[in-house]
Amino acid sequence: MPIRVCDLLSIEKVNTTIPMKKQFIVAFIALISFTTPFITRAQTAEKQATIKVSGEVTTPLTIDAAYLQKFTPTTVVRKDRDGNDHTYTGVTVAEILKSAGVTLGPELKGENLTKYLAVEASDGYQVIFALAELDKAFTDRAIILATTVDGKSLAPGDGPYRIIVQDEKKPARCIKQVTAMSVHFIK
């Protein structure tokens, strides 16, 4: 960055003899090249996290906050590490997977029961769920992709997307900062 500032200054000094119009253009170009990195930097900082849905799906998806709007919100109350109940709101994972064409519902039988969902976080942490764990026909236990806790957005270190497993005693599968979900057959 400092080099560019110097460039700008030296251009102005050197170009004192060239016509005013040309000098203006040069200065303008220098100014653009000087500010561009700031503009791009601002854009990068505002970039939003997404979740890639892939594997044994008919439609691979890239999910963002807008995409999740089309589903009915579901709420799960779960004790956190502090020992207090917290209300998480989000979308049932099964609904998201159904929109990607994963074999849930009536199709979840036979060899499809050997499929699992792998969820990955931005730090590389991974956990898995058998598809049957996610399906309402198998269990009433809700597994959701939460976006809010007690009415507020998840903390940056937890969100923007976190899996919340209803009634599961250990929080290890309540994976934070989810970046990818992929469905696979066992090998």
Binding site: T44, A45, K47, S122, D123, G124, P156, G157, D158
Partner: protein, 383 residues
């Protein structure tokens, strides 16, 4: 000197027939030296990657690069081969020295010129289980990883095409490539594949910690206390002290392939994985490196800022810097009620360091099978 010059000069004027003889003789000399390598007998066949059962079988070998004894031997030759650099002076081993668990003891490394690398050289141990390589995990396989330092203009600075050409003219190599790949063709792809095969064999599984897990070593009281702190979450409310290390460094391999911001800077100079994800929460996030042989791999962190393990422990205990990307494992974890950093006692740090020294594998750093095959007797040659 003058006499010799006079003797050689007439050679240029030799009739065509004699020139051919010289060529044929040269050919035989090259062929003979190549045959020399083979006559020593490079063992062939599937390489047996031996490791303890508790390391697990989630290993990472691409289907198009199975590990063979001859491939590992070639890879080992190439790992120590300075011809793979533009100046013929730098090999992989310059920055990955066996005695330092395949690191170089420097914060940043020098390659073929004066420009230093931007991050510290990483240890090469138990890569067989790794899926993401480099401090930012951008390479998804060893084959892709190996290409980078080979061709980086400041590290080894030579295109794979030129490396392949140079090796084609180097005695021994065409024959070795034939032994590994079925024909003498030398390509960049074949070079990185062989190097990767060798790197997958760098298994460290004979530390005192391994022996402890195997019930063949009884740790000292200090090591035991250190291990307990290492594996415990601090819970000052109920009187449990801990250093919370195992969240990221736990498991039998002391490696979990995670990427975290460990509070080095409030504004990271190096963006880490945010460089390609563009997310504020990824700023200053780097690979959590293996703690295998950690006592041998100073200086520490991606930029080698800490010279000793004492400095590392002081950092985690007292100097965690807040930022958007700071790992949740390092937030508000303390041995003091309501504290924001670990606050370990002096003796507790010493205990943890005693445990960390249990992770040193002296077999790994002296195994002749991992050393330069030109200097020591090769283990994978027939006796």
């Amino acid at each position: 000197m003058l006499k010799r010059t006079r003797q050689y000069k007439p050679l240029k004027k030799l009739p065509v027939g004699k020139g051919r003889i010289v060529l044929v003789l040269l050919f035989f000399a090259v062929a003979l030296s190549g045959w020399g390598y083979l006559s020593n007998g490079v063992e062939t066949g599937t390489y047996n990657l031996a490791y303890p059962a508790n390391f697990g079988n989630r290993i990472n070998i691409p289907a198009d690069n199975p590990t063979t004894k001859q491939g590992v031997y070639l890879g080992r030759m190439l790992f120590y081969e300075p011809k793979l650099s533009a100046t013929n002076t730098v090999s992989c081993a310059n920055c990955h020295k066996q005695e330092k668990a395949f690191t170089d003891g420097l914060p940043f490394s020098k390659g073929i010129d004066e420009v230093l690398t931007t991050r510290s050289s990483m240890s090469l141990a138990n890569l067989l289980w790794a899926r993401k390589f480099f401090w930012d995990g951008r390479a998804t396989g060893l084959e892709v990883q190996a290409m980078v330092p080979l061709t980086n203009p400041h590290e080894m600075g030579q295109s794979l095409e030129i490396s392949a050409k140079k090796l084609s003219k180097a005695p021994g190599y065409p024959a070795l490539f034939k032994l590994v790949y079925g024909d003498k063709k030398i390509t960049g792809d074949r070079i990185v594949k062989a190097i990767s095969q060798f790197e997958r064999t760098l298994i460290s599984s004979n530390s005192r910690y391994d022996k402890y897990l195997n019930n063949t070593y009884k740790p000292t009281a200090e090591e035991m206390d250190g291990m307990l702190l290492f594996n415990s979450d601090p819970q000052p409310e109920i009187g449990i002290r801990g250093a919370n290390c195992a969240h990221c460094h736990g498991g039998v391999k002391n490696y979990m392939e995670l990427f975290h911001n460990n509070g080095l800077d409030s504004i990271p100079k190096d963006a880490g994985i945010a460089e390609f994800t563009g997310l504020a929460t990824d700023e200053g996030r780097f690979k959590v490196p293996t703690l295998r042989n950690i006592a041998l791999t100073a200086p520490y962190m991606h930029d080698g800022r800490f010279k000793t393990l004492d400095e590392v422990l002081d950092h985690y205990s007292e100097h965690i810097q807040e930022s958007a990307g700071l790992s949740t494992f390092l937030r508000n974890e303390s041995n003091e009620p309501g504290g924001t950093s670990l606050k370990l006692e002096y003796y507790e740090k010493k205990e943890i360091i005693a445990f960390l020294n249990m992770l040193t594998d002296s077999t790994f750093i002296t195994d002749p099978a991992f050393a330069d095959p030109r200097l020591r007797p090769a283990q994978h040659r027939k006796s």
